[in-house]
Amino acid sequence: MWHKWWALFRAGWGNALAYRAEIFIWMLTGTLPLVMMSVWLSVAGGEAVGSFQPADFVSYYLGGIFVRQMVGVWIVWDLERAIRLGELSPKLLRPINPIYEYMAENLAAKPMRLPVLLPLLVLGPLLYPGAGYELSPANVLAFLVTLALAWLLYFFIQYCIGLLAFWMSQATSLWQAWFHLWLVFSGYLIPLDLFPPLVTRLSAWLPFRYTFALPLEVLMGRLGGTVLVHQVAIQVAWVLFFVALYRMLWSRGLRRYSAVGA
């Protein structure tokens, strides 16, 4: 299996290289957190807002850009197109599940984003006194684990929605609807701790925050001990749920697949 992964990875990397300019431009569209950061800094006016010090907003939104880019998956359009136009057929003829190809392609493009993203994480704490991250080895490990799980969860959610193209012709519009909920309940626009308590509590049971806020809060050292363990457990549960959902949708979808024009 490893050399199969490696081959898919290599091709994914080659593809990412072919599209490096586009990837860079796409990254520029992910700068909304900078706007949110400046809004909160001016609202705060040097005072704390809830549990957030002004410096925390800097850490949160700069870290947020990093987490978002690392977790982000953009395959729903490819997947819908492949199903609708029958481009899935050549992939189905190979003795390997196409999902690995999509995974490898997404992962292979990640390193290309790092040269832009890593300086952000360093720059924030340098420019804004008090901003920074909890970089003890244990916490970094916890961050990497929750980040990887966040990617896995986000990937499977998007894959599931993409697979709905077997039944409907506009799976991407469903994704757009999901994404708007995500913007709110993931903590991407506003830290979840600053919402009314009811919304905060609700968001803890929904899948959204486990694709974004959890690793970010870990990175900032805001979670630890039993809370962290509890959170990771919920995150794993959501991953398992969407993997199961994926398996069901995939086997039923293939039955429906009429390989249009393939």
């Binding site: 050399h3 199969k4 490696w6 081959a7 898919l8 290599r10 091709a11 080659g14 593809n15 072919a18 599209y19 029958g86 481009e87 057929s89 050549p90 992939k91 189905l92 003829l93 190979r94 003795p95 390997i96 293939l254 039955r255 697949y257 009429s258 390989a259 024009g261 393939a262």
Partner: protein, 333 residues
């Protein structure tokens, strides 16, 4: 044992219908009208190992649907299908490793990368050992005259070049069963001939079973001894191509170039005059009498040139589609 066994295969599609225009859209919101299309309707046939079979039929006859069922892309609505002993739609890796489906209209090559990258992926996915990979690649490079095409970005290749690389990618794992759907579509005559030659060569070298559809009768005539003809999802003919030709078209065409032009009426006793353009005349003659008629023509006229040809295969197939085979063929299923 057969490589391909198809028994009473049926594949029906549900198709939604919508009247044109705004009101049609509104109405379809309330009540969706569906119609069942019988793409394949009770077809049975078997193919032995190493056989090349031409799969013919007009557009929409069900050829591609059948190939998709055989390669596991589609679930059959009813009937039994076995390929190499496997049930295709289960898509077991051991099955997929031994077949290939080449679709002239669809590609597996990665668009933005050189074709060799796709080949390397397939090498890993099909678990092809290094030495075998190199050997196969050398052979394919030689047979398909790939030269340096493999290292060029796919999107910069011409259609013909891409098709060659596509074939290389599809055959890298040396499949035992080849499903070829219009493998020569869009190619020029020289390229068509090369691809054809390649398929024959591959079949001879590896003893692979080939099921091939094509709009170009030349492909079929050059490759397949046996043809299966389907129309509207039904099997119309399954048998020897030559027998079919003799049955449907029990005549040949003699074309003579005369030294000086003669009136068509003079030629009438020799057979049905198809065309008479000055000195060049085509006459349709019953099969059994061809050589006698030719001899007489040579005797009675000053002839510059004389050829005896089969009627064009296109015409024969056309004839079959319009119902000419039913009484002619003894082995209709």
């Amino acid at each position: 044992m057969y490589h391909i066994e198809v028994r009473h295969l049926k594949k029906y599609y549900e198709v939604h219908h919508k009247a044109p225009g705004f009101w049609g859209s509104l109405r379809s919101l309330v009540r969706r009208e569906t119609r069942t299309v019988r793409a394949v309707d009770d077809i049975s046939f078997t193919v032995a190992p190493g056989e090349i079979v031409g799969f013919l039929g007009p557009n929409g006859a069900g050829k591609t649907t059948t190939l998709k069922v055989l390669s596991g892309l589609l679930y059959p609505t009813a009937g039994e299908v076995r390929v190499l002993g496997f049930t295709p739609h289960e898509r077991q890796p051991a099955f997929l490793r031994q077949i290939t489906l080449v679709m002239g209209q669809k590609q597996q090559l990665l668009w933005d990368l050189p074709a060799i990258e796709t080949l390397l992926i397939n090498k890993a996915i099909y678990e092809i050992p290094d030495d075998e990979f190199r050997r196969t690649l050398d052979e394919l490079t030689e047979l398909l005259e790939l030269g340096t095409l493999l290292t060029k970005q796919v999107r910069k290749l011409s259609l013909g070049e891409r098709m060659k690389c596509e074939l290389a990618a599809a055959l890298l794992h040396r499949p035992k069963v080849l499903f070829l759907d219009e493998p020569t579509i869009g190619l020029d005559v020289t390229m068509q001939a090369k691809v054809r030659q390649f398929i024959a060569e591959y079949n001879a070298r590896y003893g692979a079973t080939v099921l091939l559809t094509s709009h170009y009768m030349a492909d079929v005539a050059a490759l397949a001894k046996r043809v299966i003809i389907i129309d509207h999802g039904h099997l119309v003919y399954d048998g020897d191509l030559e027998t079919l030709v003799q049955q449907v078209a029990p005549y040949k065409v003699i074309t003579v170039t005369l030294r000086q032009s003669v009136s068509p009426s003079v030629l009438k006793p020799f057979g049905h005059v198809l065309a008479a353009n000055g000195v060049k005349v085509s006459i349709q003659v019953p099969r059994g009498t061809t050589s006698r008629v030719a001899a007489r023509l040579l005797q009675e006229f000053a002839v510059d040139d004389l050829t005896i040809e089969e009627p064009p295969l296109e015409e024969i197939i056309q004839h079959v589609f319009t119902g000419g085979i039913r009484e002619a063929s003894p082995d209709v299923a």
